[in-house]
Symmetry: D2
Subunit: 283 residues, 4 copies
Amino acid sequence: MKNITMLIHCRDQKGIIAQVTAFFLSAEGNIVYIDQYVDRENNEFFMRLECELPETVLIDTVRSDFEYKVAKKFNMLWKLYTRSRSLKMALFVSKYEHCLYDLLSRCSVGELKVDIPLIISNHDDLRIAAERFGIPFYHIPVTAATKPDAEVQHLRLLEEHSVDFIVLARYMQIVPPALIERYPNKIINIHHSFLPAFPGAKPYHSAFSRGVKIIGATSHYVTEELDEGPIIEQDTVRVSHVHSIDDFIMKGKDLERIVLSRAIKLHAERKTMVYGNKTIIFS
Amino acid sequence: MKNITMLIHCRDQKGIIAQVTAFFLSAEGNIVYIDQYVDRENNEFFMRLECELPETVLIDTVRSDFEYKVAKKFNMLWKLYTRSRSLKMALFVSKYEHCLYDLLSRCSVGELKVDIPLIISNHDDLRIAAERFGIPFYHIPVTAATKPDAEVQHLRLLEEHSVDFIVLARYMQIVPPALIERYPNKIINIHHSFLPAFPGAKPYHSAFSRGVKIIGATSHYVTEELDEGPIIEQDTVRVSHVHSIDDFIMKGKDLERIVLSRAIKLHAERKTMVYGNKTIIFS
Amino acid sequence: MKNITMLIHCRDQKGIIAQVTAFFLSAEGNIVYIDQYVDRENNEFFMRLECELPETVLIDTVRSDFEYKVAKKFNMLWKLYTRSRSLKMALFVSKYEHCLYDLLSRCSVGELKVDIPLIISNHDDLRIAAERFGIPFYHIPVTAATKPDAEVQHLRLLEEHSVDFIVLARYMQIVPPALIERYPNKIINIHHSFLPAFPGAKPYHSAFSRGVKIIGATSHYVTEELDEGPIIEQDTVRVSHVHSIDDFIMKGKDLERIVLSRAIKLHAERKTMVYGNKTIIFS
Amino acid sequence: MKNITMLIHCRDQKGIIAQVTAFFLSAEGNIVYIDQYVDRENNEFFMRLECELPETVLIDTVRSDFEYKVAKKFNMLWKLYTRSRSLKMALFVSKYEHCLYDLLSRCSVGELKVDIPLIISNHDDLRIAAERFGIPFYHIPVTAATKPDAEVQHLRLLEEHSVDFIVLARYMQIVPPALIERYPNKIINIHHSFLPAFPGAKPYHSAFSRGVKIIGATSHYVTEELDEGPIIEQDTVRVSHVHSIDDFIMKGKDLERIVLSRAIKLHAERKTMVYGNKTIIFS
């Protein structure tokens, strides 16, 4: 069988589900997963669907038939993904190693089904981690002087390695607009606070100084507004007055690891859709 | 508009969703919610659907048309509920008052959209709570001698008040088979542990003595196997060595309140389906 | 036995614990709880202690002895509370009834060991709840014109009823400086967001519009900076794209109930100390 | 300064805290952490204390003085640990690699301050992980025939490497009594369920089949009763009917990683005390 995943977005209208499912029925497909969400306020329809198609079916034919027979009628934005290969994920890191090791381990043991063709860093410190897992590591320093050149190198390396999406695993540099434009809703960041509380630098210090009783971490798609992109996943953990800033940081590391890896998994399995500045997350 | 909710269960087959949605399309219906779940291991299909139908449509006609045009074909078990009236919920209590007050308050302020025609108790202690909220209270003592008679009275009262489902809000008596048979998957219990850990009496004492670091509460449909029925909802809270049994009980009360009220809400909104000894919970 | 609770605050110095415990030892006291916290950054010491003293001991003598023999030496700020009576808690409400019913129920069943001498509201809607539990209810409208007069009435009523502390159970008015000054660190508010995210009005709407995956509630002492006072307790719950603003509000109500009641319990049991803009919470 | 950590256990008596703190005061020590717990039901006293002593002080003298001046009087069980070296932790694994990678990463980046002198496994599969982090790996197959010999080898290797404590990171063999006796309360296991629910083999399958809405993981000290030892740490995560057994396993892996690493950290920092079949966990 050929396995496909579809994501569909259009205005809400009568008969969408009926026609989509009828289409795959007529193509001898077996729908193994279907979920939909309707934003009633804005009258928008979203669907995620997994289908097994006979080996003999040509995916290109399915695509053109679907466009012609269904999508045009409802004015759909849609994507059809085959699962013939793993996505290629580039990692950007700086000096914090907890998320990097966590992701390398998860990919190594098959929990995250993505390939990591390269790791890019503005520091050389984490080369050892990359080498342990046999991943090419590119040290590209970023200073005021080298910044424009570094950005060119980044784009070139990402192209060369046919990267599908980028993960900022505690990368301590602001991502330039050109990169965001080239990879729209394909750059995932982990921010070490429960956004929108404590955006920007040193959120654990801010949380400590505010005296909160719970800290969090947030994974989101990167947009030009710093720490303002669509949130994919968040989680929280309790703290108390006995915890120092170092304790906050230590507890936060576990949050960051888990929240980032969950977000990557959702993205890689095509379970996220971005709409406005929000995400729809299919389970 | 007429609002209906449907629950459907059958063997998984091609075309179910297509035909169900096409049916309501042809009936001028507007599907405002649809969710489905397929148990792939056992090849079973489950669906929940909310639909707005034109005022002119006769519900009985919809029922017979659906049976004839769709349900028969797929050999469906199905139910169609109108939302013309609130469900009637009977409360059984003994001496613990926290769940009772919580449910009376939630119904009073409209958080739980059910009517409470009566409260039945084997003790007279909680009459004051019932009176405060103006609910009829029946004190029916249950001793070895009076048990058979009490059961007859229970059934009669439930019939007289046209009760739709029953909630055991910390009712400290075992429910007889006759009642379970009369209200299948319509009796909801709250057990004060994280089942299947610590079934039976005094679970907080058992949890304390085992030295667990987390305690829980479980709401489930009542079956003839004590504390073994299909689980609707659970939740947990952390404890530590500093907490006494009384602290466990106090913390547990909040769990019980929340877990029970969530389960009742799910049941009243027709979001639960029982299958084997498990539940499917639509969100 | 006479039961006392002490809260102590001073600069951290050698020998504090040794001398405090030796003092109560010499007074034939039995220390049943002792906990301390040292803020190493600022070198501040905090202690909470519960002690059983012989019936024959005069509390006033203990107080003067402690001041003379221990407190003076270490330049302590300290308070000694007897547990001879319940604290008197005034409730301020507006139109939201979930927290009010929850607190009335908890006091009624003995979960919260405080007395409620009166409920004050700027609307008359919740009188029914007060009457059900037999608590005096004062409807004092607050408009631009009546505001100064209302504030005078508030202060007078609080004095007349010998109120120890105030709880704003979703009171939709800003508390004036005079009241805050009169009850410093004795006014507890519940804010329906995970502060410092979404301060001010309509936090559920802001959370919805930001697309967060977790919402929260925060209970804090009221200071002149709106929503900026020392946080006593917070909690969070997961939400997703399927939840509407109404769902956020409904889920938030359970958070508000629990977070507020926990904060009140901590305050009433003398387990909170305020230091700077933060709290120390003894377990 | 010399940093020490003390753990003390005795019958609860008047004056313990006063005399212990006075002792360190007279030794020119600076107590930087002190916490105590009294089991009122059984009248037992527990204390954990961290102290900075002058460089000139001889630890052996402190030990003998403490025994003579304080411990004897109260009939204390006590231990004094210096922090001059990291503890040596042996890892036992089989085929599951998630906990192994997680622990190797945490030790490598300094989150867990322990040394790992060796990894022992009954399978050869995880050698690659050990090699990546440069840790000696011993493949010692365990069959009915080789079991007695394997146990001898285990004990010899542990002695040779001066191991302080053992972690079973999903080791799929039952630990023999001789090993437990040699390392009492020094063998930490991770069980992949919320004990006491689902002890024994295949807990995720049992949880799935029972239809629970929350799964958990439990880290405990190993005793001769399988899965019955003192619990150090537990945590839970929500599941629903849409999750397959594989989803349970995947979600459970994150729980196992976190619960096990927290338990190891607590043990390595001397924050655990075992009493009866329960633990006291100092924060």
